[in-house]
Structure formats: C-alpha cells, structure tokens
C-alpha cells in the first residue's frame, strides 16, 4: 500500500496499463512532455516514449476521432480532454460514432476508447472550467460513464475502464484531486493521506464498473450521490445528525440498481445529491429508478440537492455549489415528512 492522492492514483493506473498492455496509448493536450495541466500523466512520456504518450493539437474532435480510429486499428487509447467543459467539440464523435460503432456494425467494428476528463467546480474556474456534464453522456446509449470519489476507486475504476471493451467516459472531480472536500472552502485543505481511501495498492487491481458502494451504513435515510458530493454528504450527515446510509454510485452507466434500491428499501427515505444542474440531471434517473423499485417502501417524497440551473458563476461558486447546509436541510425535510 502507498499513500496516493487522486492524481497519483490515476497516474499509477495509466502507468500500470501502459506497462501491461502494449495496445494502450495516452493522448491529449499537454499530456506528454508537460505531464498534463493537472499532472495526471506526469513522467509517462519519459517512461514509455512519444509513440505511447502523445501530445495532440488543440482539437477535441480530433482527439476523440483519432482515438476511435486507433481503437478500430487495435489500440486501446486513453484520451484526456483537458476540462470536461472542453469536451463539446468532440460531441459528435462521442455520440454519433464512439457510442454506436459496435451497434451499427453488428459488432464488426468497435473502439475501446477511454475518455478521461476533469469535471466539477470549487476551484474558481468560472463557467468554462467547472461543469459537470455527466448526464449528457449517460443519456447516450453505448457509452459507460464513471466518476470516482477517492484515489482507491479512481485507480481501480480507471484500470477497469481501460480494460473494458466498450467506450468509457471517465469523469474526475478535480476539486478532490488533492484531498477529500466536504464543501466548506474556509476550512484548511485536508490531504488524502488522512483518508482511508488514500491508501492505494501500488500494483494492479480493479474496481469493477457497474458497482455502487455503501460508504456509510445507516438506517434512517439513503443518500445516493457520487464524486465530490460523497464527501459533502458525509459532512451534511454529521451536521443534520441523521443516521443516513450514503451510497457512492461510482458508475452511472451501467448503474448498480440493486445496491441503490436495497438501501432505499431498507431506510424508506431517499435524498439524491449531485453538483451538476438539476433539470434533467442524472439525479432524475436515480429518482425515477428508486420510485419504480422502492415505491411501496418509501415513507417520504425523494428530494434532490443539486447545482442550480444556471451556468457556474465565477463569483458565486459557493452559493452555487450544493454545500452541506443545503444537503443537511434536505435530510431534515425528508426525515420530517411522513
């Protein structure tokens, strides 16, 4: 075991996969010589050479389109889109091509591309460095969508994603690259070394896609969440004094319906939390699923706590961010409802 932050864990995952599988290549803007603007690919080009770790032109559509071509020709590309906010020029390649290639060719062609991209706010990045567009991708049939909440999962899930034969969009909540963040920007930063999930095996292991994890057991209420908000939910639970069960969704597509619904059926109450905007957010899918499977066990309406339905405003990021106060208030409302 080693102490790793999320950046180091992701770096380790790519290092191991470059080592284990000659088909794996890394490509993206600034990922080679420089090691990535968040340092996730640091040292990899030096170690594996310029034909395995490629700096690219600034063209996200080109990055994903080329990754598809490489995938079709037998490689396993791991493409980095520097910020999730920059992924839209690649949208056609993701939606019309990457997601559907296997389907439209009846399995004759496919491309096992992993797209890594940092998402989320809380770093004063303004509207073009703070978005959480996961729901846009979960709405597209044919791509898997993942978001880890800690270094251990980040490494294990990234290895699973790279090994997977289907395309994966892998969201990295950049606010928790360096440490778990409970939603209070005024507290001193906490490093991952203080968190049990900062203990990461140095070697190969996987965390399977499609499995949620109960990160806190509880009896009174279930919180379904993922990414940075897993840590915010924990702070909110302490604040509200509710015996809540927190389920880290981890993998949005495929979704671990059993784990989610088992929890909600047990507690009878449910709050869904994500940082992305509310309207047609992934929370809507979670709420619908819970309603379908757990209706007769529910004792209160399900609540969602999310980012507001506005672009991420530079000056008001903490008013925008669904912090522990808003989550705690929702927990209390759901506990009081009957």
């Amino acid at each position: 075991m080693a102490q790793m932050n999320m950046v180091q864990a992701l770096n380790s995952a790519m290092d191991i996969m470059l080592q284990r599988d000659q088909r794996v290549v890394i490509l993206g803007e600034d990922v080679g010589y420089f090691g990535g603007v968040f340092r996730c690919t640091e040292g990899l080009q030096r170690k594996y050479g310029e034909h395995r770790v490629l700096d690219t032109p600034i063209a996200e559509g080109g990055i994903v389109g080329a990754a598809i071509g490489m995938g079709v020709n037998g490689l396993k590309p791991v493409a980095e889109i520097q910020f999730a906010d920059y992924i839209y020029p690649a949208f056609d390649q993701v939606v019309s091509e990457l997601a559907r290639l296997r389907y439209r060719t009846a399995g004759e062609f496919s491309a096992a591309v992993t797209i890594r991209t940092p998402c989320g706010g809380g770093i004063r990045g303004g509207q073009t460095h703070s978005q959480s567009p996961e729901a846009i991708f979960t709405h597209v049939s044919g791509i898997k969508v993942v978001m880890p909440s800690n270094p251990y999962d980040a490494k294990g899930l990234l290895i699973s994603s790279i090994e997977d034969d289907d395309p994966v969009v892998f969201f990295e909540p950049k606010r928790i690259y360096n440490g778990p963040f409970d939603g209070d920007p005024h507290k001193p930063a906490v490093p991952w070394s203080s968190h049990p999930r900062g203990d990461v095996p140095e070697g190969y292991y996987t965390v399977p896609l499609g499995r949620a994890e109960v990160v806190r057991s509880g009896q009174e209420l279930s919180i379904l969440t993922y990414g940075t908000m897993v840590h915010v939910a924990q702070a909110a639970v302490r604040q509200a004094g509710v015996d809540a069960e927190i389920v880290d969704v981890r993998s949005m597509v495929p979704l671990d319906v059993d784990t989610l619904c088992e929890s909600v059926c047990k507690t009878g109450r449910c709050v869904v939390v994500h940082e992305a905007t509310r309207f047609s957010g992934f929370g809507a899918e979670l709420v619908a699923t819970v309603q379908e499977k757990c209706f007769w066990n529910l004792q209160a309406p399900i609540e969602r706590v999310t980012g507001w339905d506005t672009p991420y405003p530079h000056a008001f990021e903490w008013e925008y961010f669904p912090g522990p106060a808003r989550v705690a208030a929702a927990l209390q409302r759901v506990m009081e409802a009957s």
Binding site: R39, P89, I123, G125, E319
Partner: protein, 458 residues
C-alpha cells in the same frame, strides 16, 4: 529493405536548459515583400502567405512598399496604447499573485497584434477577440477601471461575476464577449460579417485566435464560410509559438505557415511580423480595405512570441528555455516602435520614461478606484441572487423557485450567524475557523499542480 510507416512527433527546437533556437522562423528582410493591389486575386498573391511582411528594419527605420506612412502623432498614440496594455497586464498579474483576483492572462510581447490592427480599422467595425487581446480595449478607450472591476468580479463587473477574469465584453465599443472555450469566435465573426453584407453596411469584422486553437474545427468552419460568402472579415491567427506547453509544430506549423491555410480556401494569406507595429498596421489596413470593397476575407498570421506564461496557472520554465523571449529574433514591439520614433526625432528616452511614469500612475489610480467596488475577498459584493438572471431573458418558474430557495437559505444562515454572534463568548469552533489565506489562494487548478510539482522538484 521494406519501408515501414513511422509516426512523426514534432519537437520544439529547445527545451529548458537548451540554448534558444529560432532558426525555424523564416524571416524576410524588411521592405522585401511586394504590396499587391487590394483587388488582387488570392491565387496571384500566394507568396504573401510564406514571406514575412516587415516594415521596420534592424535599425528600426520604416522601409519598403508596406510602410503605412503614419503620422508621428499616430505612432506616439500606438506606443502609448501598447505601453499601457503592458503596464496594465503587469499590474493585474501582481494582483493575482497577491490573491486579489483569481486568474489572469497577460498579452506581453503581443501588444502590436491588437493595438496596431485596432487602430487600422474603424470604430464601427466589430471585433471578436481571444483572451489575449486586451490591447483592443485600450485602443477603443474602455477605462482600465472597468476592466479591473471585471477581473475582480465586483459590483461594477460588466459580466456580473459570471465570467473568469479577462473574459470581457463591450457591446457599445463593438467588442464581442470573450469565451473561455477556444476558437468559437472565429465562425461567429464570419457570421457577423455576413450579416453586415446582407444588410448592405460597410462595417467589417475582425477576429483573433492563437495558432494552437487553429487546430479546432471552428477555424476551418470559419475559413470555409468566409470564402464561400466572401465575408468582409479579417481572420487573424496569432502565432505566438506556444499553446500552453505545446509549441506551434503541434498545430501544424512545422511544415508550412498558418497564413498558407488561406490560399487553400481561396482566401489571401498574409504572414506578418507581429512585433512590427507598422507592418501589422499596414497589412490590417490592406485587409480592411479589401473587405470593405467586397474583396472578401483575409487570413493574417502574426508571427510573434508569447513572452508571458499562458496564464497565471502556467509555469513555462517547465517546457521552454527561460531565455527564449530575450532571444526572439523579432524583438519587442514596444521597444521597436520606441526606437523608430526616436530615430525620427519624434521621441526620446526621457519622454518615454515620463510616459511610463504617467501610465504607471494611471494604472495605480484605476486600481484604487476599482477596489472601491469590491474584491473577491472584501466587500462590497454582488448579490448572489443575481446569478439566476440572464439565463433566459425572462426568468422561468423553475429558476424563480430556485432563487427563492437560495434566498431563504441565505436568510436562515444570516439569522443563525446573528444568533451565534449575540451568544457572546462561544469559542468552541475556533479550531475550525482558523484564519486561512484568501479563498482563491491555492485553489486555482494549475497553480496547485504547479506548487506541487515545484515542491516535488525542490
């Protein structure tokens, strides 16, 4: 022997620790490039795309057919604008380092690209800048206080706190909103110009991107539309050699020039010394005139050098030699124009020093004024409820509800805070509220990464 294909990976000529090497920059002698008539067909003037239009020679004398023969007074204004742009940039960079603003992008070394072209077009022409064109605002006379208020996201911020610093806009000054995404403005400028032509106006549009973002599809959309409709637009590629850590070879500049992409679309391409105020002015005037007379678009490649970091989140010493800027063969645009004016007998070191002092004081005054309207960390502050405005022209019901929710939450928090403060000597939470550096400090992506990597190496 069988030949196998080999992947080519571009390499910059020099990395940290190496001697700077700009041997790859093809430079024509000043005055050597012919100046065609503005009615020339694109196919007949292809060589403009590979030569380098220069007016100022090594002694900074104006020579050759592209000399725009500007009045000394106009050159002095240009010098003043460039100097003010640089001093403004320097100040804002320092303010970012002090934690007063969250982020900044300097245009150091590239001032002529914005200032000279903006002076060559008309005030009614519409400008679609990238995030390194603050000189446009200086030329068009937007007060620095206003720009600083935007960088501070304060109560007088033109963007109402919604945009990162530097992402200005100015409808009345005919300068379009800056996007944090790359190259999007390029086809938009073409569309604006098409509209001007549809409406029968003689206004033109001008737009700027970096050579790095010319790799984006939007660049190619813009050239196609501009060529097809012969839109009255100037398309500027600012080749400052670096796109964060990747040198211009990664945008396709290794084999051929960026200007040469124009002729491929049937658009004249002109490659110009971007640090030569007179040359930039001259080619801009040529392109503007051509556009205004239904000659259509021109693609201008400004050969310059990004003297500063990409942004305050970047550390260029990790990927290029520290002495690069000092070795750049096309010099410093401010220094060159200053020496040109001194050569004409229209300027002096003393006048320059006095101007610098005057502008420095002006920047200080503007900053003092700007912070009165608040900073990120000190009041007054904008009302956060304003974040719900302008998502739509009229606020739909779901946003009205969300605004009410935030309002109630804030009222609750204010009441709780008031109750706690009247509770007197409750000190149990002192540990939690340890004084920390300002909110922005250390939370900016690249800076964190930078600090980490520095720590690691150190």
């Amino acid at each position: 022997m069988t030949q196998r294909s080999r992947l080519h990976v571009p390499h910059p000529p020099a990395r940290p620790g190496d001697r700077p090497d700009f041997g790859y920059v093809r430079i024509s002698p000043a005055g050597a490039v012919a100046r065609p008539d503005i009615t020339a067909a694109a196919a007949d003037i292809e060589e403009l795309a590979t030569q380098l239009v220069r007016v100022l020679d090594d002694q900074q004398r104006a020579v050759g057919p592209w000399n725009p023969h500007l009045e000394a007074s106009e050159l002095q204004v240009g010098l003043r604008h460039m100097l003010l742009t640089r001093l403004f940039d320097d100040r804002m960079q320092r303010m970012q380092r002090q934690g007063r603003i969250s982020f900044y992008i300097k245009s150091t070394g590239e001032e002529a690209v914005s200032v000279a072209q903006c002076m060559a077009v008309l005030p009614g022409d519409m400008l679609f800048p990238s995030y390194r064109n603050q000189g446009l605002y200086v030329v068009r006379g937007r007060s620095l206080t206003d720009l600083m208020c935007q960088c501070l996201s304060n109560t007088r911020d033109m963007c109402k706190g919604r945009q990162l610093p530097v992402m200005y806009q100015w409808a009345a000054g005919n300068i379009f909103s800056i996007s944090g995404n790359l190259a999007t403005q390029f086809p938009q400028a073409v569309g604006w110009a098409m509209a001007a032509a549809i409406k029968g106006e003689d206004r033109i549009a001008s737009t700027w991107i970096g050579e790095g973002s010319s790799a984006e599809a939007d660049f190619h959309h813009a050239l196609t539309f501009a060529a097809v409709y012969r839109a009255p637009v100037i398309l500027n590629v600012v080749n400052n050699q670096w796109a964060i850590s990747t040198f211009q070879g990664f945008a396709g500049g290794e084999r051929w020039t960026f200007a040469a992409r124009g002729p491929g679309y049937g658009i004249p391409g002109i490659r110009v010394d971007g640090n030569d105020f007179l040359a930039v002015h001259a080619v801009s005037q040529w392109a503007a005139e051509r556009a205004r007379r239904s000659g259509g678009p021109t693609l201008i490649e400004h050969v310059t050098y990004r003297a500063a970091a990409h942004s305050t989140s970047d550390d260029p010493s990790r990927y290029r030699p520290k002495e690069d800027w000092a070795s750049w063969p096309l010099g410093d645009p401010i220094d060159r124009l200053k020496r040109h004016l001194i050569g004409l007998g229209e300027w002096s070191q003393e006048r320059h020093a006095a101007l610098e002092k005057e502008l420095e004081a002006h920047v200080t005054d503007c900053w003092k004024e700007a912070v009165k309207y608040g900073t990120l960390t000190e009041g007054p502050t904008l009302d956060p409820l304003g974040m719900f405005e302008d998502v739509f022209k009229q606020m739909p019901p779901h946003l009205l509800r969300q605004r009410e929710e935030l309002k109630a939450l804030r009222a609750q928090q204010a009441a709780d805070a008031a109750r706690e403060s009247t509770d007197g000597a409750r000190v149990e939470s002192v540990d939690d509220s340890t004084e920390e550096s300002p909110v922005v400090s250390g939370q900016e992506p690249g800076r964190e990464a930078q600090a980490r990597s520095v720590a690691k190496e150190g």
